[in-house]
Each structure stands twice: as structure tokens, then as C-alpha cells.
Symmetry: D2
Subunit: 262 residues, 4 copies
């Protein structure tokens, strides 16, 4: 029988691992999904912090569904033997259990299942972290999404408000899912500074990741984001809408992402 000790994931292999960031801003007209202004800020922030932590960061912009599946397939079939872990982030629109490519939806389950221990053995026993800054399709109609014209002299950061995704996921040891928002809440994205979730995630990572474990980081992010209020928005409905992130953990050990020693 396994011991009751608190263990930590081994994080001293040759490489930290891959940090894949899929950043979708522009969507095909036929999908009726709005441009996600501010998402590039999120992508830059995530990119910066994960590079700092020793990840091999790969950022993809505006991927179609097929391209997303192909990139995921590449990542899940590559050899992660010398890697500590794998991190995958989606910055996009979302819907029930789906995430948007530029031209439609992809089921999150199809993405995540490709990393299971039996299918992706070089990541077995290693943390597989998925982060979703996404929002649910049904509430797009009610949100006001005025694109702020950056050309204007006076930049009015405007909070665009979308709906929440559904963290219905599961499946597989050593998975961690980080959701920008729990069901029923709004996922706020500021057109100048990026989304609340990624802003706060990056800030907290910068400050705490040297000596706190990743779950502690996510807990602080939960607190910071849920404390925010919508002050300025063109949408009456957005005012006062709170945001509650959440994380679903199948991790079996503590995860420290302290930068790798050279």
C-alpha cells in the first residue's frame, strides 16, 4: 500500500517540458463568434512566465479545428521522456465541453484523452496541465462586445464579458485542469490588459512560483479574480458580474514549477 507521505513531482529532468499556447483571436464570420480583443496580451503574458520557468514555449495563433487537432496530436505523440511535464493553454471562445478553433468547435475530451498514460506513455506519471481561458457560446448573445478601437487616442479599456465554460472534464492520473471560470459565471476579458484570469495568473506566478506549489498559485488566483468587479463596461448586464475560476485536480503529488537550475 502506498505511503501517506506528501510527495513532489520530479522536476529535475533534462527539460522542463513543452508549454503549448493556442491563442485564437479571430473567428470565421460563419461561426458568429466575436473577435477576442486582448487575447494577444494573454498569450504574451503566459509565454513570458513559462519561458522564465524553463518551458519550451510554442505559441500558435488563430488555429482552425483541424490544425488544433494536428498540433495536439503532434504534442501527444512526441517523446516527452526527458521532460518534467507538459502544459497546454487555450485562449479562445468555448462552449459546453468544447473549445473554439477559428472555424468551429472541438470537444475538449478529444484533446485531453490523447495524453492519457496508455496513449502517451512518455508523460505517464508526469503532470499534464491544461488551462482554459474560454467562455461559453450560449451567452455570447447577451454580452456586449464592443471592440475598442486602438487607433483612437484615448484607449478606454473596456471589459468584455462572456459566459462560462463547463468544467466537466476528468480522466486520467496526473491531470490538472485550470478553468478561467466555473459554470454560471462570466469570463471577463479586458481589451487592453487581457483577461482577468490570465492577468492574475501571471501576476501570482511571477510573485509566488519560486517557493509555492502550483495549486497554491491557483488558489490565490481564485481569490484575486473572484474579488474583482466590473467597473466599466458598455454592457449593463456586465456590471457587477463576478468571476469565479476553478481547478480540477487529478494530480498525485505537489507540483513545484521553480525555474530549472542551469
Amino acid at each position: 500500500m502506498a505511503s501517506s507521505e506528501v510527495e513532489c513531482y520530479q522536476m529535475d529532468r533534462e527539460s522542463r517540458g513543452l508549454a503549448l499556447i493556442i491563442n485564437n483571436e479571430n473567428f470565421h464570420h460563419a461561426t458568429r463568434m466575436n473577435k477576442r480583443s486582448g487575447t494577444d496580451v494573454d498569450a504574451r503574458n503566459l509565454s513570458r512566465i513559462f519561458k522564465k520557468l524553463g518551458f519550451d514555449v510554442q505559441v500558435y495563433k488563430d488555429l482552425s479545428c483541424i490544425s488544433m487537432l494536428e498540433v495536439i496530436n503532434e504534442v501527444s505523440t512526441m517523446d516527452h521522456t526527458g521532460n518534467d511535464c507538459c502544459f497546454v493553454a487555450f485562449l479562445s471562445h468555448g462552449d459546453d465541453g468544447c473549445v473554439y478553433g477559428t472555424d468551429g468547435i472541438v470537444q475538449i475530451k478529444k484533446i485531453v484523452d490523447q495524453f492519457r498514460g496508455d496513449v502517451c506513455p512518455s508523460l505517464a506519471g508526469k503532470p499534464k496541465i491544461f488551462l482554459f481561458q474560454a467562455c461559453r457560446g450560449t451567452l455570447h448573445e447577451t454580452s456586449v462586445q464592443l471592440s475598442v478601437d486602438v487607433v483612437d487616442g484615448e484607449d478606454q479599456p473596456c471589459v468584455e464579458v462572456d459566459a462560462a465554460p463547463v468544467p466537466t472534464l476528468p480522466s486520467g492520473s496526473d491531470y490538472l485542469f485550470c478553468y478561467s471560470v466555473a459554470e454560471g459565471y462570466y469570463s471577463h476579458r479586458d481589451t487592453l490588459y487581457g483577461s482577468w484570469f490570465i492577468q492574475d495568473f501571471t501576476d501570482v506566478m511571477e510573485q509566488l512560483v519560486l517557493n509555492k506549489d502550483f495549486i497554491d498559485v491557483l488558489t490565490v488566483v481564485n481569490r484575486k479574480v473572484s474579488a474583482r468587479r466590473v467597473e466599466r463596461s458598455y454592457s449593463q448586464q456586465a456590471l457587477g458580474k463576478k468571476q469565479m475560476p476553478c481547478y480540477l485536480s487529478m494530480l498525485t503529488k505537489k507540483l513545484y514549477l521553480t525555474p530549472k537550475k542551469k
Copy 2:
């Protein structure tokens, strides 16, 4: 803007709070749900550890759906002002987003929503922990559940295998959901020693709760349970079936359940 410090929930109020344990073993014939032999062991284990930690433990056996709703309603409408937190555990059969009373199903959402900050203000900002040792209805037909006849001299602990629940939950700051099993896995219950999840949860709590936070405990439980294998079972299908617990956190601070000083 909220700070990026790791904060801890205040745990030094007059009372630790209520630990409600709903223990359903026997189900009405018309529900076609098997007797959950071994669940009393779980109830005793949970009861013991939470009493030790200063909770006001209340155990209910074999509650009908209405009774479950009434108990939950009582708990959610009482005054928790002097309490640190609230803990609610369900030991029962489960189904998609539902948990079984002795005579049918109750939607988990209906239970959990009653504790939201706006509805239950005396628990606002305080940890609301829900634990589910449950299993999904659809896979009951495939599992073999032979009740071990205690009258026999030789007690053969037998692992009964059920299906998994779906952690589809969400909603509300400071909630923590602890699931015995993630979607797609089996929830094992040993007729003599109780369920794997509650056995390991109790063991780990006994050993770690003095100086580790609750999330650390759940992480170790994830490891221990997922390391277990089915050795002995009357069901061929059960052999080799692994179990992966998981927890969904909307906590905003670290939760230490160290016993209260007198």
C-alpha cells in the same frame, strides 16, 4: 486589487462547524440499487476523524430524497456565524449529477446551491466542503455485487465495483468538491473495510492533517487510491479496474483543519 499573498482561512472561531454525513446503505427495491455493504465502516471512519478535528458531527443513515433535502435545508438555513466552515459528505449510489436517497435521485446542484453566499450568508467567505463517495447508475448493471455473508466463518473481503460519478459541479466562491472518482473510473468499495477512497482519506487525514493543508491531503489520497489494484473480486470486469479520485476547488485560501485548541 487583492494581494498575491497566500492566505489561510480563519479557523479559530468558537466552533469548527458542522460535519454532516449522509450514509445510505439500503435502497428501496423499486430503485433497483444494490445494498452498499461496507458503507457503515466509511461512516464510522469519517465520523471519527471529523470529531477529532473539532467538528460537530451528525450522521444520518438511509435518508429518503425528501429527508436529504430537508436535512440540507436545515443545515443551510441555520446560523453558522460562530463556525469556521461546513463539511457535507454523501456515501451513496450516484448518477449523472445526482446522488441517491434511499428512494430515488436528488440533483447535486439543488443541494449545493443552497450554500451559496447570497443564500447562506453566515457561510459566506468560509470553506464549504462537499465529499462524494458515490458511483454512477448506468454501470451498476455491469458490476458484480455479491454481498459477503457475514455469517460465514471466513470473511472474504470482497471488492465491489461500481461506476463513476460525474464531477460536473461548479458554482460559488469557497466551495471544494471531493469526488471518490473521476468520470470513467470505478469506485471501489470493500465490504469489510469500506470504500478505497474513504479508507485512504481517513488514513491520510490521521497522518497529515496536523501540519498539512486539506488540498495536500486530497493530493495524497489521489495518489494512494490510484495506486490500488483490484486483487480479489467475483467480477471478472472488476479485476484491474483502477480508480482515480479528483477534487474541484473554488477555494480562495489554504485550508488547515488542525484540531482546535481548547
Copy 3:
């Protein structure tokens, strides 16, 4: 290979069959479901028309979930050998794929599956008709449900508006599901005259069933109900809300319910 002729169900056996009507008006306080005033009118109407058509009508009032399951179990396990068909109607509150007993919810699938050809052979090849005058739980909070006190001199028939159920059903040859309302619409119930759907269903049956088949009847009911508008209601939200019934057919022949000759 089966012929392409239009065939009709054999309707000249010794007995027409059972017409089971489950009429739930009063719900346990803990379910938070309102009293369904006007439902007795529906029950009387259905009862009258099905008696006329030669059915063995059995009406049950205010059944708990267990009682509903037991009654269904009795009906599905009895010998329908000398019967033409079987008809089961639910007048109650509803929710996603569920129907309400007085004390909670029952999954429609669990009810319907008990009549499948392999489980209920004496109904194999015979029409199994399920009718649901129900409404979805989530929208109860938004609807105004003022019970009109019949004792008052001035009876103001008031249209109570609930939400729609989800016809997600299926499964099995010779099933027909008649829903008072399709997803996204409201199910209107007049406290004096009964629900729109049952009122119109009964009227059309009275007028057409002698020489039209049952599907033709349902089609006319679709038209009549969808043409109605809410004129008087205490709920602002109710005004203007349309209702669209629907039926899901796995029938393999035309169904004529002309009264049996003596």
C-alpha cells in the same frame, strides 16, 4: 424485405388496453415545486376520452417517486396479451429528462425502458404511447404561479406558465412520445380549464378520433396549441409566450383509436 404498404396496428383484440394517468398536483415543500392547480381538470378530461375509446383507465393522484416506479413496474410486468396497446400519461412538473413525483424526480428513461420488447414481450409490436404534460424545473423560479382560489366568487382563470421539458427520449420500436412542449417553450396551464395541451388534445380527440389516425390528431393539436397566446396572466414574462408541442414517433404503423365495437 418488408413491403412498402401502409399498415395499421391491429386494434381488435379483446381489450383496448390500459390507460394509466399519473396526476401530480401537490408537491412536498422540500422540492420547492408549486401546486399544479388545474391538473385535475386535465386528469378528468383524459380519463373521459380514454374511457370512451375503450381503455381500462387507471388514475393515480399525487404519487411519490417510489410509488410511480412501482405502478410502472406493475404495468410493465402485467400480461398485455389480450390488449391492443398501452397508454401512459404524466401530468406533473418536469426537468431535464425527468418527471416529478410528489417528492422528487424520476428519470423518464427508467420508466420508458421497462416497456421495451425484450423486457415487456406482451406489448412487443404494439403501440406504447407516452404523453407528458410537464414542464422544466429550472424555469419555475421565473414563472409566476398564483394559485387561483376557486372558493372565491369571482374565478379569474389565470394562465400559469412553466418552462419546457426536453424530449430527449428514444428507444424501442412502436413507441410514441407526445410532449406538451418542445424545448425552449413554455407549457401553459390554466387553473380553471387545465393545460392548453390537454384541453386541445381532448377537444381534438373528441372530434377526430372516429376517423382520423392518432398522428393526425397530434398534428392538429400542434396547430391549435401553437396558435394560442397568453392573454391574461399575473406574470409579465408569461404574456406573449407561445407553446409548441411535439411528438417523437417510433411507430411502425398507423394508429387508429376508434372506439371498440361491442
Copy 4:
């Protein structure tokens, strides 16, 4: 109050209307969806019968998700004023409430909602018929789909067996949804003769449409398809698997598709 007469849809306008057939046979490798051999036979059959009935038939082969949305958008925004009705058929793989484009999934709801009376007024009050010869994704892994090599001298018609779609639809007056299979059943497609559903649908249409209404046709199709058995298949699991089509009707009148007089 609307009369209780059986009415028929007006079918004598200038044009019968559009019959859109989306025929997807080849799927991008990344979707892991098999080639749907035999689907061209279905497309030809549907095309032939609907041309005969006076429809303006448009067949599209192997459409991506975006293309499907664009075609649907074109059709729903065009002026149907001089048309009797509109018919849209999908021959593809399917999944929970979705239908496959060559490169991914599209939510059926998104397609169907575009034809609602308020959005597509020139079709208001006119029959909007949707036919799905599709199958559910989750069971593709269990079905054996050996493509029969037509180049071989000896063509062994082989029944490929997929899983069932979920007819969860609804919404809107005058819609009719025809599903090749109800939930829980298999959708059979013969690589030489096309799918069972479309074969039988076309046969019955040929024989009955002159003097029977469309619902009668679908009822006979229900009977014929459900009577079929799998005789020859490379998949052991396929043998014996029955298929039960179904239709969901929000039609308000009888629908006769007799050919238009010149």
C-alpha cells in the same frame, strides 16, 4: 380558437422549394472518422426522388464545417416566398447533437435555429424538413468499418455499422426532423447500396408519395428499417444489431409532397 380540422400545408405555390443535400464521405485524418463508403448512393437516391417531386435539388459533397455553415446561412437567408417548403438532408458522421463536416463537428442546433420563423420569415408557416443519416461518434471505435474495395472483382456488400445519434432537437413551429436512428441503436450503411434508412426512405417515397402524406411515408420507413437484420458483416458486434429510425414532428398540418402539376 383554432378549429379542430385536419389541415394540409399549401403545396401549390410557384416552386416546391429547395432540397439541400450535404453528402460527406471523406473526413480529414485528424478527425479519426472513417470514410463513409456507400454515401454517394444515398445522395443519388435522395437527389432523384426529390427532383421528381419538383424540388430544386442542390447536392454538396465533402463540406468542411465552415462551408456547411455558409451553405446553411445562404439557404436560410434567401427568399423562399414563392416556395412551398424547404428540405435539408445530412449524410455524414454524427455525435451528440452534432453532425460532422469533413474537418470537425457542427452543432445541429446552430443549423436548425437559422430557419426559425422570426429569423427566416419567408419560411414561416411552411414545412422545414431536416433529415439526418448520421451516426454517433463515441461508438465508432467499437464498430468495424472495413471499406470494401470496389476495385476488387467480387464486390462483397458489407454492412458497416455505426452508432446512433441523439434526437434532442426541437424548436419552432412547422419543423420535422427525420432521424435514421434513435438513440441506442446502430445506423447501418451498406457500402454498395447505401444506408438502410435512405434505401428504404427512397423506396417508400417512390411507391407512396403520390397519395400518402409524408408522415405515413416515415412510418412505413420506421417499419421497414426496424425489420432488417445484419446478415453479413466483418464485425461480430454488428451481427444482429437492429436499427430503429424515428421522427420528431412540430408540423401543424399534413404534408403531401405529390409532384407539382405543370
